[in-house]
C-alpha cells in the first residue's frame, strides 16, 4: 500500500509516533499529483493532447513551498517532543474560495484571478494549526455557482477520477476529485445547496455539510450567506470526523458561528446504531422537475441503482439494531429547488456587488469614460455567464413589485421545509427520528457538457441535498455502491441541529458493516491506470 492510500487518521498516527516523517508524506502526495493531476487550471481555454485531457486537473495552484515549510515544522515539533496537532503531516487541498494569506485566491473567477488576500480563512488557519500540510488550491464552479465544476474560468476544469469523461460534480469538484484520486487525504469544501455532498457522491468519497454555524465562514467568499457551510471531504467517515474536530467551533470573526460546544466526533463513532431511529421518506424517491411553459412540476424517477442502495443501507442498519421508520413525510422537499432559486440568487446578487475593479482583483484594461463605465466593463469582462445570471435573477426576484411574490414567499416556504424536519426529529412526535436516510443525488455523475448550459437541469441535481441547507441541518454523503458503469453512488444521512455525531455514527456503522462488499474493492479508473503503467 502506498502512503497516499493511508487514511488521514493513519498518517497522523504514524507521524505523531515518529514512524513517518511529514516530509515523506508530502513527497508521496506531490508525486501522486504529478502523476495524475496534469496541468493546473488556467485562465482561458487550453489546447490539451488526449493524454492530458484524461488527467484529473483538480488543482488551480500548488503551494509546494508552503507545504514544505509546514512539513518541516511538524517534523521539528516531533523531534522536540512538542504536540504537532491532530492532523500532523496530513496532506490537504483547499477549495479556492477560502482565503490564504499571500496566496492567489480566485474563486475560479477571472474577476479575482490575481487577488492575494491579506488574511487567512479561519477553517484554513485551524487546519494549519492542527498540523495539516496545505498542498494547494483546488478548482470549483465560479464563485461555487454550479454542480459540475464546469463553470470555472480556470481550464481545464476537474474530471471525475472514476471516469474522466464525466464531471466530478460541484461546486467542490476539485476537492472531491483530489481526495478520490489519492492526491490528498482531505479537502476543505463548501456546501450551499449540496456542493460538498453532491460531488462527494459523484466521486465516491465522504462529504460532510455541518450544521450552519458549526464551522466559521470567516475568509470564505460568500455566495449565499444564510446557507454557506464549510466542511470536510475525506475517503472515510473517521477522517471526516477527525477533520471536523479540527475545524469546528465558535469564531469571534463570524457572528453566525455557533457557541454550542463541539462533540468528540471520533469517540462518538464507536457508539453504534443500536436503537437509532432511521427514517425513509417517500419525498426523496423522485425529482420534481418543472415544465418550462406551464411551470407544473412533474415526477422523474431517480436512478434505480441509487434507490436500491438506499434500501440496502437501511437493511444493513436494521441488521445492526437500528429501527427503520418508513413513510416519513417531508412534503415540502419538492419546493426546495424553487426556494433555493430565490434565496440563493437574491443573496448572491447582493454579495457580488462588491466586485467592481476598484479595491482588488481584475480591472478592465480598456480606456473608460468614468467610474461607472469602469465598473460595468470590469464586471462584464470579469464575471462568467453563471455569475451574471445569478446577479440578474437575484435582482429580479428581490425587486420592488416581485419581492412579495417571490422572496418573501420563499422565506416562508423555507420555514416550512425546516418545519418538516422539526416534526420528523421531534422526540415527542410521531416519528421521533435520529437521522433521515436518503439518496444524495438522483443520478450518478453525468458526462462533461451533457448538462452544462442548462441551468435548471444543473440546479435540480441538488434536489436531494438542498433541503438540509434551507433547514440549517447537518448532512453527510457516504459512498453507497457503484452503478453498472462503475460510477459511484452516494447515500445521505441528515440529522438534527448540531448532531453531526449522529449522522457520522450512522455513516460509520454502515461503512464498517459493508467493508467486505465487492464494490469496495474497485478503485477509481485513474488509479487503476496508474497501477497498469
Amino acid at each position: 500500500m502506498s502512503l497516499n492510500q493511508l487514511s488521514a487518521l493513519e498518517v497522523a498516527a504514524h507521524v505523531r509516533a515518529g514512524e513517518l516523517s511529514a516530509r515523506e508524506v508530502l513527497e508521496a502526495s506531490l508525486s501522486q499529483i504529478r502523476a495524475v493531476d496534469g496541468q493546473p487550471g488556467r485562465l482561458d481555454k487550453q489546447q490539451l493532447d488526449p493524454a492530458e485531457e484524461q488527467k484529473v486537473h483538480a488543482f488551480i495552484r500548488l503551494t509546494e513551498d508552503l507545504a514544505h515549510r509546514q512539513a518541516d515544522e511538524v517534523d521539528r515539533k516531533i523531534s522536540a517532543g512538542e504536540d504537532p496537532g491532530i492532523l500532523a503531516g496530513v496532506p490537504v487541498s483547499i477549495k479556492d474560495i477560502f482565503t490564504l494569506q499571500g496566496v492567489e485566491t480566485t474563486a475560479a473567477s477571472r474577476i479575482l484571478y490575481n487577488f492575494k488576500p491579506p488574511y487567512t480563512a479561519t477553517p484554513v488557519q485551524k487546519l494549519i494549526e492542527a498540523g495539516a500540510l496545505i498542498l494547494g488550491k483546488v478548482n470549483l464552479d465560479e464563485f461555487t455557482f454550479g454542480s459540475s465544476s464546469e463553470s470555472s474560468a480556470f481550464k481545464p476544469t476537474p474530471n471525475n477520477p472514476w471516469n474522466t469523461s464525466h464531471v466530478p460534480g460541484g461546486s467542490s469538484g476539485g476537492s472531491t476529485a483530489s481526495v478520490a484520486a489519492e492526491e490528498v487525504a482531505l479537502s476543505l469544501g463548501t456546501d450551499t445547496g449540496g456542493s460538498i455532498r453532491q460531488p462527494a457522491a459523484f466521486c465516491g468519497v465522504v462529504g460532510l455539510k455541518p450544521t450552519y454555524g458549526r464551522v466559521s465562514r470567516y475568509g470564505l467568499m460568500a455566495f449565499s450567506s444564510s446557507l454557506d457551510c464549510p466542511g470536510p471531504i475525506a475517503r472515510n467517515i473517521s477522517d471526516a470526523a477527525l477533520m471536523l474536530q479540527a475545524i469546528a467551533g465558535t469564531d469571534p470573526k463570524d457572528s453566525t458561528s455557533s457557541v454550542v460546544p463541539t462533540s468528540n466526533y471520533l469517540e462518538a463513532l464507536k457508539e453504534g446504531v443500536k436503537g437509532l431511529r432511521v427514517g425513509l421518506s417517500p419525498d426523496y424517491t423522485h425529482l420534481f422537475y418543472p415544465d418550462f411553459e406551464t411551470g407544473e412540476l412533474s415526477l422523474e424517477s431517480i436512478q434505480k441503482e441509487i434507490s436500491e442502495s438506499v434500501l440496502h443501507a437501511a437493511s444493513v442498519l436494521a441488521d445492526l439494531g437500528a429501527e427503520i421508520v418508513e413513510k416519513v413525510p417531508l412534503p415540502n422537499t419538492k419546493y426546495s429547488i424553487p426556494t433555493y432559486f430565490v434565496v440563493s440568487r437574491v443573496e448572491a446578487a447582493s454579495n457580488l456587488h462588491r466586485f467592481d475593479g476598484v479595491k482588488y482583483g481584475y480591472r478592465t484594461p480598456v480606456e473608460v469614460e468614468d467610474l461607472q463605465d469602469l465598473i460595468r466593463r470590469t464586471r462584464a469582462e470579469g464575471f462568467g455567464s453563471e455569475a451574471k445570471l445569478r446577479i440578474l435573477m437575484g435582482m429580479y426576484l428581490s425587486s420592488e413589485g416581485f419581492a412579495a411574490n417571490y422572496y418573501q414567499r420563499a422565506l416562508k416556504v423555507r420555514a416550512m421545509i425546516r418545519r418538516d424536519f422539526e416534526r420528523a426529529f421531534d422526540p415527542h412526535g410521531e416519528h421521533r427520528l435520529d437521522v433521515v436516510l436518503t439518496p444524495t443525488t438522483a443520478t450518478t455523475a453525468f458526462k462533461r457538457n451533457d448538462v452544462f448550459g442548462n441551468t435548471v437541469r444543473m440546479q435540480y441535481s441538488d434536489q436531494m441535498t438542498v433541503s438540509a441547507n434551507h433547514a440549517g441541518l447537518p448532512a453527510v454523503s457516504v459512498p453507497g455502491g457503484l452503478d453498472a458503469d462503475n460510477l459511484p453512488i452516494g447515500i445521505q444521512f441528515i440529522g438534527p441541529d448540531f448532531r453531526e455525531d449522529l449522522i457520522l455514527r450512522a455513516g460509520y456503522a454502515y461503512e464498517q458493516a459493508t467493508l467486505d462488499e465487492a464494490w469496495r474493492s474497485v478503485r477509481p479508473a485513474i488509479l487503476r491506470q496508474e497501477v497498469a503503467k
Binding site: 411551470g295 462584464a380 417571490y406
Partner: protein, 102 residues
C-alpha cells in the same frame, strides 16, 4: 397554468442596474435561462402556506455570540491591502472621474 415571463425590456433594465454589459448572444442565453428558472420558481406561488408560518432568514435559529462590539481595530498591514488594488494614489484607491462630480 400560464406563468409570468421576464420581458426583454425588463431584462435590459436589470442589466443596467446590475452594472453589467452583455453581448447579444449572452443576452439571449441569459434571458432564456432566467425564464426557465422562473418556471421553477413559479411553483412557489402554488404552495399552500401554513397559516402560522413566519419567514425565516436562517433555517436554524442563529446560535452565535452575536455581533461583536463596534470597536475600531486598525488592520496591521494596510500596505498589503493597497498592494492588491489595480490603482492607488497617496495611500488610497484611485478611480476615474465620477460622472457629474466636480
Amino acid at each position: 397554468m400560464s406563468i409570468s415571463k421576464i420581458s426583454p425590456e425588463l431584462f435590459q433594465k436589470l442589466v443596467g442596474l446590475a452594472a453589467l454589459e452583455l453581448t447579444d448572444e449572452e443576452s439571449a442565453y441569459l434571458l432564456t435561462e432566467m425564464n426557465h428558472q422562473l418556471s421553477s420558481v413559479n411553483a412557489l406561488l402554488q404552495v399552500p402556506l401554513d397559516a402560522d408560518i413566519q419567514p425565516t432568514l436562517h433555517g436554524i435559529q442563529c446560535q452565535g455570540s452575536g455581533p461583536r462590539a463596534d470597536v475600531w481595530q486598525p488592520f496591521p498591514t494596510p500596505s498589503e491591502i493597497l498592494a492588491g488594488a489595480p490603482e492607488t494614489e497617496a495611500g488610497m484607491f484611485a478611480v476615474p472621474d465620477v460622472k457629474g462630480a466636480k
